[in-house]
C-alpha cells in the first residue's frame, strides 16, 4: 500500500541502483511487525474460516471430532436459502439508510459547531464525546428501556403528554419499527465520529475563499455546494465508506435489541445471522460460508476505498 510513496524518483534511480538491496531492506523490514500482527490476528483466522466453510463443522467438531470436507455444499445451501437473501437485502437497506442519515446529521452538527460560540461548542463537543464513548451494548440497553413496552418513557410521553394511545405499545414487534429504533441507536452512536471529522475538515477551508464567494453574492447553500463540498470531498469519501462497512456488519445493537423484543427471523442482519447460524445453531460450516461471502462483499467495498485513498495520496 505504501509502495507508491517510497518508490524512488526516476532521477535518483540511476545513482542508487548499485546499492538497491540495502536501501530497500529498511522500508520492508519496517513493515514486518505490522504484517506479522495482521497475519496472526486477521490472516490466520481468515484462512481457518475459509477452510471451515468447506467442511461439515458442528458442535462435535468443536470438541475434537474430525471434520469431513464437503466441497461447496455449505455455499450451495446458503445461496439457495431464501432467508439468507432476505437477510442480505435487509442488511444493505439498513446500511444505506443509516449511512445517509448519519452523514447528513453529522455534517449538520459539524456546521452547527462552526457557528456556535466557545461555550456551546465545548458543551456540544462534550456531549458528542460522551455519546461516542458509550459502549454500544450499554447504549442499546438504555435505549431499550426508553422504548420499553410497559414502562418506557417514550410510551409514557406519547400517552400522557400528547394524549395518544401508546399504552403498552411494542416498538420492536413490527420489523420496520424495530429498525427505526435500531437506526436511532446506531445513528446516535455514529454521528459524533462524522461530526468531529467533518468539523476538523471545515476548519481547514480558508475563510478568504468563503468570504470572497459571499461578496460575489453566493448564498449559503451555494457556498456549501460549490466550495465546502469540493474541499471536503476526500473526507466525505473516507467517512462514508467507513460508515458503510460499520453499518453493514452491525452486530451488538441488533443482537441486544432482539433479546429485548421483536421477532428474530424478521430482524436479523448479516452479523447476527452469521452468529445465529454458527454459534447458536452450532452449524459452523454454514456460518463460515456466510462469513466468507460477507468478507468478499466487504472486500469489494474496501478495495474501492483503498483505490480512492491511493489516488488521493498521488494528487
Amino acid at each position: 500500500m505504501s509502495a507508491p510513496t517510497i518508490a524512488p524518483s526516476p532521477a535518483l534511480d540511476g545513482k542508487v541502483r548499485g546499492k538497491k538491496p540495502r536501501f530497500q531492506l529498511t522500508p520492508y523490514s519496517l513493515l514486518v511487525p505490522a504484517t506479522v500482527v495482521l497475519l496472526i490476528i486477521v490472516g490466520w483466522p481468515l484462512i481457518q474460516l475459509f477452510v471451515i466453510s468447506f467442511q461439515e463443522f458442528g458442535r462435535p467438531q468443536v470438541f475434537g471430532a474430525p471434520a469431513p470436507f464437503v466441497g461447496f455444499k455449505n455455499y450451495l445451501k446458503v445461496l439457495t436459502d431464501p432467508s439468507f437473501w432476505n437477510v442480505m437485502v435487509r442488511s444493505i437497506l439498513f446500511c444505506l439508510v443509516n449511512v445517509a442519515v448519519t452523514m447528513v446529521g453529522g455534517t449538520l452538527v459539524a456546521i452547527l459547531m462552526t457557528k456556535l460560540n466557545k461555550f456551546f461548542r465545548v458543551l456540544m463537543s462534550t456531549g458528542l464525546l460522551l455519546a461516542w464513548a458509550m459502549p454500544a451494548l450499554t447504549a442499546t440497553i438504555v435505549w431499550g428501556w426508553i422504548f420499553d413496552t410497559s414502562y418506557g418513557v417514550v410510551n409514557y410521553i406519547f400517552t400522557h403528554v400528547f394524549g395518544l394511545d401508546y399504552q403498552g405499545h411494542s416498538w420492536l414487534i413490527n420489523p420496520l419499527s424495530f429498525f427505526l429504533v435500531a437506526t436511532i441507536i446506531v445513528v446516535w452512536g455514529a454521528i459524533p465520529f462524522v461530526a468531529f471529522t467533518v468539523y476538523a475538515g471545515l476548519t481547514q477551508i480558508p475563510d478568504e475563499i468563503l468570504e470572497a464567494a459571499q461578496l460575489d453574492g453566493a448564498r449559503g447553500t451555494q457556498r456549501f455546494r460549490l466550495i465546502t463540498l469540493p474541499y471536503l470531498r476526500s473526507i466525505f469519501l473516507v467517512v462514508t465508506i467507513l460508515q458503510v462497512i460499520w453499518d453493514l456488519r452491525v452486530f451488538t445493537q441488533i443482537y441486544a435489541l432482539q433479546g429485548i423484543g421483536g421477532i428474530r427471523d424478521q430482524t436479523s442482519t448479516l452479523g447476527v445471522y452469521i452468529y445465529q447460524t454458527a454459534l447458536s445453531s452450532g452449524n459452523f460450516g454454514m456460518g463460515g460460508a456466510i462469513a466468507v461471502i460477507t468478507v468478499f462483499f466487504m472486500m469489494a467495498i474496501s478495495l474501492y476505498y483503498v483505490r480512492q485513498s491511493l489516488k488521493e495520496e498521488q494528487l
Binding site: V42, F63, G64, S170, I274, G282, A291, T294
Partner: protein, 423 residues
C-alpha cells in the same frame, strides 16, 4: 461483525488444534496440586447460602485450593458454553439447562462420570435428570435441581372477581379472562410472548406433542390437530388475558406483580422469593404482599395437575478442566445432603429424591410436588438445544401473541424444527 466472527473462528481453530490431544475419556489423575476451581452457575436460582457453603466447605477440605463461582446468564448460554468449554481456559464445573445438556454430553464436552455415579448419589438422583445428563450409556452430567412452574396469584383480586382456584384447564383460562375483563389495564394472566415454557402444558394437555421420533426421523407436531387446539387456547390467553409485552421475555415477573398490574403469573417456583424480596434489594420485591400471594399448580384438562415442563439443571465437569480431581470433590459437595437441602428449603426440588421432604408442607411445597409428579421433557435429541438457541420457539409464540394465523405459523415452525433435528 467481521472481528467477532474472526474471534469465534479463531477460538474454534485453536480448539481443533488443541482438541486432538484432549479427548473426552481421559481419567482424572490421582494426585493433584492445589488450584483454583471455577464453577459456573447460571442465573440467580441457586441461593446465596448454598454458594457460601460450597466455597467454605471446599476450601476447608482442600487446603491451598480455592473455589470461584462465576454467575452466567441463561440467555445465550449454549453459545457461551460451546466456546468456553472447548477453550484452554475452560471453567471446571458448569451448570447447564436439562434440555441443553444433550448438546454437550454428545459432543464430548464433559468428563465421563460413570464410575463415580454411586459416589455422587447413585439411584437417589432424580432419574429424569440422570437420563438428560447421560449419553450413549455413559453418565456425564449429574442432576443439580429441578424447578416446577407454578401459578402465583393475588388472593384479593381472585376473591374480588368471585372466583376460586381453578380445578381444570378451561376454568384456568376463563378465570384469567374474567380477571382481565374485571380489571381493565391489568393482566389476568401475565404472559409475555417469548415465554414458550408456559405454552408446552397446553399442547400436552390437549394430547399434542412437540416432536415425535419415528422411522429414524423427527417429526415436529405443532401443526397436529391436538396441538392446534392447545395453541388456540394459548393465543386466547395471550391476547385476551395478558397485558404483558407481546414480544417481551419472562424475566423479572415480580415487577408487574408488585406494581399491581399483574394479577396472575406462571413462573418457576423460586419466583416467590423474587416477589417477596426486600424493597431495598438490587431487584426489589414487595414483601408486604406476602399474605396476599397465593399459589397453585396448573390444573389439567380433566382436573388434577397438568403435564408441565420439567425445568431444571444438570451439572458436569468440563473435559478440559485442569483440575478434574478437585472438581470432582467440589461436585460431591454440590450433590451432598447439606447443599441440596438449601435448594429444598428454597422451593427447588433437590437432586436427591431422599430430600424431597425438605420442600416443607406449605402451599408452595404442595403445588411443587403435584406439579413435579406430572412433569415432562422436551424431545430427547442432542440437537434440541439448537432448536432453543435458534429462537424459533420464541419467534413463534411472539407471533401467536400478536394474533397470527396458527395454522400457517405452526406449519413453518414444524419445518424449521425438523430441519434442525434432522439436519
Amino acid at each position: 461483525m467481521r472481528k467477532l466472527s474472526f474471534a469465534a473462528i479463531a477460538a474454534v481453530a485453536a480448539i481443533t488444534l488443541a482438541g486432538c490431544a484432549g479427548g473426552g475419556s481421559n481419567d482424572a489423575p490421582e494426585a493433584e496440586k492445589p488450584g483454583n476451581i471455577r464453577v459456573w452457575l447460571v442465573g440467580t436460582d441457586t441461593p446465596q447460602a448454598a454458594r457460601d457453603l460450597l466455597k467454605t466447605q471446599f476450601e476447608e477440605q482442600n487446603p491451598g485450593s480455592t473455589l470461584t463461582i462465576e454467575e452466567q446468564s441463561w440467555t445465550g448460554l449454549v453459545d457461551k458454553l460451546t466456546t468456553s468449554l472447548s477453550g484452554s481456559d475452560s471453567p471446571d464445573i458448569v451448570e447447564v439447562g436439562n434440555t441443553q445438556a444433550a448438546a454437550f454430553t454428545s459432543a464430548g464436552a464433559f468428563l465421563d462420570l460413570t464410575k463415580y455415579y454411586k459416589e455422587l448419589g447413585g439411584d437417589d438422583l432424580l432419574p429424569g435428570f440422570v437420563e438428560a445428563g447421560s449419553y450413549d450409556g455413559k453418565f456425564y452430567a449429574a442432576p443439580l435441581y429441578s424447578g416446577s412452574r407454578l401459578v402465583f396469584y393475588k388472593k384479593d383480586a381472585l376473591a374480588a372477581a368471585g372466583l376460586s382456584v381453578p380445578t381444570t384447564l378451561s376454568e384456568y383460562i376463563s378465570n384469567a379472562e374474567t380477571l382481565a375483563a374485571d380489571n381493565p389495564g391489568k393482566s389476568g394472566l401475565w404472559w409475555p410472548g417469548q415465554d414458550w415454557y408456559n405454552a408446552l402444558p397446553f399442547i400436552w394437555e390437549n394430547g399434542g406433542q412437540v416432536a415425535v421420533f419415528k422411522d429414524g426421523k423427527w417429526d415436529a407436531q405443532f401443526n397436529s390437530a391436538a396441538s392446534q387446539k392447545g395453541l388456540a387456547q394459548i393465543q386466547e390467553l395471550m391476547t385476551k388475558a395478558s397485558n404483558a409485552p407481546k414480544d417481551g421475555n419472562e424475566t423479572n415477573p415480580q415487577v408487574g406483580f408488585c406494581d399491581g398490574t399483574t394479577l396472575q403469573l406462571s413462573a418457576p417456583s423460586w419466583v416467590k422469593w423474587s416477589i417477596l424480596a426486600p424493597t431495598d434489594a438490587d431487584t426489589p420485591g414487595c414483601p408486604d404482599q406476602e399474605s396476599n400471594l397465593g399459589v397453585y399448580a396448573l390444573p389439567g384438562v380433566n382436573g388434577g395437575a397438568a403435564q408441565v415442563f420439567a425445568g431444571g439443571s444438570n451439572i458436569g465437569i468440563s473435559a478440559k478442566s485442569a483440575h478434574p480431581q478437585l472438581a470432582l470433590k467440589a461436585l460431591k459437595i454440590i450433590l451432598g445432603k447439606e447443599f441440596q437441602t438449601i435448594y429444598g428449603t428454597n422451593g427447588l426440588v433437590p437432586a436427591l429424591k431422599s430430600l424431597a421432604s425438605t420442600l416443607g408442607t406449605d402451599e408452595v411445597a404442595k403445588a411443587i410436588s403435584s406439579a413435579a409428579g406430572n412433569a415432562r421433557l422436551t424431545p430427547a435429541s442432542p440437537k434440541w438445544a439448537e432448536v432453543e438457541a435458534s429462537g424459533a420457539l420464541t419467534d413463534f409464540f411472539v407471533q401467536i401473541a400478536q394474533g397470527g394465523d396458527i395454522d400457517s405459523l405452526s406449519k413453518a415452525l414444524d419445518e424449521k424444527i425438523e430441519s434442525i433435528l434432522n439436519g
